[in-house]
């Protein structure tokens, strides 16, 4: 048990809580680049998925984009981005994203599962529901925003959660290509054979990933209409049944 005592002591050491290599700053770096990537990825992926799903077009592309995304190794993408932007400079105006190559790799990984889930969520909505909505005199835009989007929301959020967890995990790997974030503790601890430090870093990263998942689950509860959670359970369950076999919800893990 002395190993865990060492880990405990590591957390208790004030030196590990200050400066650039301190827990607060590394956590901030980790969250900053992850949040920036998720923000941009949501802005790019959701509109594409919503519009394609609403028009029922491009389904093959929308569904397969996450299969292709899954085949792309996240570490490979980070390495490529790090090599490219080790050569070129970070474009001006991108200071807020943290480390630019990491941001690019994370964004690229986050987009596919969100496009697929959004598309599947939209495309699986009962045609009767859409017809009823347009029969009530709604135009296409209203059907999209007032009927389809709310019904598709559980699946859209599943995609967002998958992407976010993947992003937080992949941001950890940024340490392997010399960038910051909580992965630094893991990787530096590993290379110095400082196992308590390494273990503490792994613990922090795992907790962060689970917190992100929980926070998004709470957000989902807050924004999904109650009718869809209870009475409308059937619709959601049917969509989820399709989802499980199609499985857009399992994104490239890293």
């Amino acid at each position: 048990m002395s190993f865990f005592a060492d880990v405990w002591d590591w957390f208790g050491d004030g030196a590990n809580w200050t400066g650039e290599e301190g827990i607060p700053n590394l956590t901030l770096e980790h969250v900053q680049v992850s949040a920036a990537a998720m923000f941009v990825a949501v802005l790019l992926a959701l509109p594409v998925g919503l519009v394609l799903g609403h028009l029922r077009r491009g389904g093959i592309v929308a569904i397969n984009v996450s299969n292709v995304g899954r085949a792309i190794p996240s570490l490979g993408l980070l390495i490529v981005a790090a090599l490219i932007w080790g050569v070129f400079d970070t474009p001006t105006g991108f200071g807020w994203v943290g480390s630019f190559p990491v941001f690019i790799a994370l964004t690229a990984l986050a987009i596919p599962p969100m496009i697929t889930n959004t598309y599947v969520g939209m495309a699986n909505i009962d045609a009767d529901v859409r017809e009823a909505a347009s029969g009530m005199g709604m135009n296409g835009r209203q059907v999209l925003s007032r009927v389809e989007l709310p019904i598709a929301l559980p699946l859209i959020m599943a995609g967002v959660r998958t992407a976010a967890v993947g992003v937080v995990a992949t941001a950890t790997l940024a340490a392997l290509v010399s960038f910051g974030g909580l992965g630094r503790l893991i990787w530096d601890g590993f290379r110095a054979q400082d196992y308590p430090k390494m273990f503490a870093g792994a613990l922090l990263v795992a907790v962060l990933a689970i917190l992100v998942e929980l926070a998004l689950a709470l957000l989902q509860r807050a924004i999904v209409s109650r009718g869809l959670r209870r009475g409308g359970d059937r619709i959601v369950r049917e969509i989820e049944a399709v989802d499980t076999v199609l499985d857009p919800a399992t994104a490239p893990q890293s």
Binding site: N67, P73, I79, A82, I186, W187, L203, V205, A206
Partner: protein, 234 residues
């Protein structure tokens, strides 16, 4: 064959060529070793994952109240970043193949169990009744009716698990068993040498596509009755 593209660097310095064919042909052995290690780890992880998932999936299917907890447990495992999971194990299993394999197996469980249960759920009650009416035991029904009918969903899960694992194996480079990750990180990135990165990256993607197609073929062979009718969702 010359370089495909010179990305940057001092006048086409070999290190900064995107692909330097002479290096590739000089290092076939190295590339082959890494590729083989990658395939071995992937196959082992998915097979062990399947061996664990099949009984758990059948259990969750029969004892419904266990499905929630099993899914929740595997989902938590799935949420933990792989680098962290490898590191949790190092103090106990060291830099070994076991350390690489355990997380890889853990990540396959959520995908496999979910698809096994969905597949078993998808068997029509009529078919089940008919099997029972023919006097099949519960075990006989499972082995000869339910599991065979669930094959398309199960194989769909195996495909996703395999492709995911192929990507994850690159990260096991941190415990010294990285397959093509070895090529990309240690031979490529550490030396700012692009060719191994390009080769590793391309081979990982080719492997993922090849594995997916092979498994699709396996599914067709296992379920000759569904050749035309069942369109497999991928």
């Amino acid at each position: 064959m010359g370089p495909l593209l010179v990305l940057a660097g001092s006048g086409g310095e070999i290190r900064h060529k995107l692909l330097d064919w002479p290096w590739v042909s000089d290092h076939y052995d190295l590339i082959w070793t890494d590729l083989r290690e990658h395939v071995e780890l992937t196959v082992l992880a998915v097979l062990i994952g399947l061996l664990i998932s099949l009984p758990l999936g059948v259990l969750a299917f029969r004892v419904r109240s266990l499905y929630g907890p099993i899914l929740a447990a595997t989902a938590v495992m799935f949420t933990i970043p792989s680098l962290a999971l490898f590191m949790f194990l190092i103090p106990w299993t060291g830099l070994s193949r076991t350390t690489a394999l355990i997380p890889l197996v853990m990540y396959t469980l959520l995908i496999l169990i979910r698809n096994i249960v969905t597949g078993l759920d998808g068997v029509s009650p009529d078919v089940r009744d008919a099997a029972e009416g023919m006097g099949m035991s519960r075990r006989g029904q499972l082995m000869r009716v339910e599991l065979p009918l669930a094959i398309p969903a199960i194989v769909a899960g195996v495909r996703i698990a395999t492709v995911t694992t192929i990507g994850l194996v690159t990260i096991t480079v941190v415990v010294g068993y990285g397959g093509l990750g070895e090529l990309m990180l240690n031979r490529g990135f550490q030396l700012s040498f692009y060719t191994p990165v390009t080769v590793g990256f391309a081979l990982v993607i080719v492997m993922a596509i090849a594995a997916d197609l092979i498994l699709l073929g396996v599914q067709r062979l296992l379920t000759p009755w569904s050749a035309k009718r069942f369109r497999t969702a991928t």
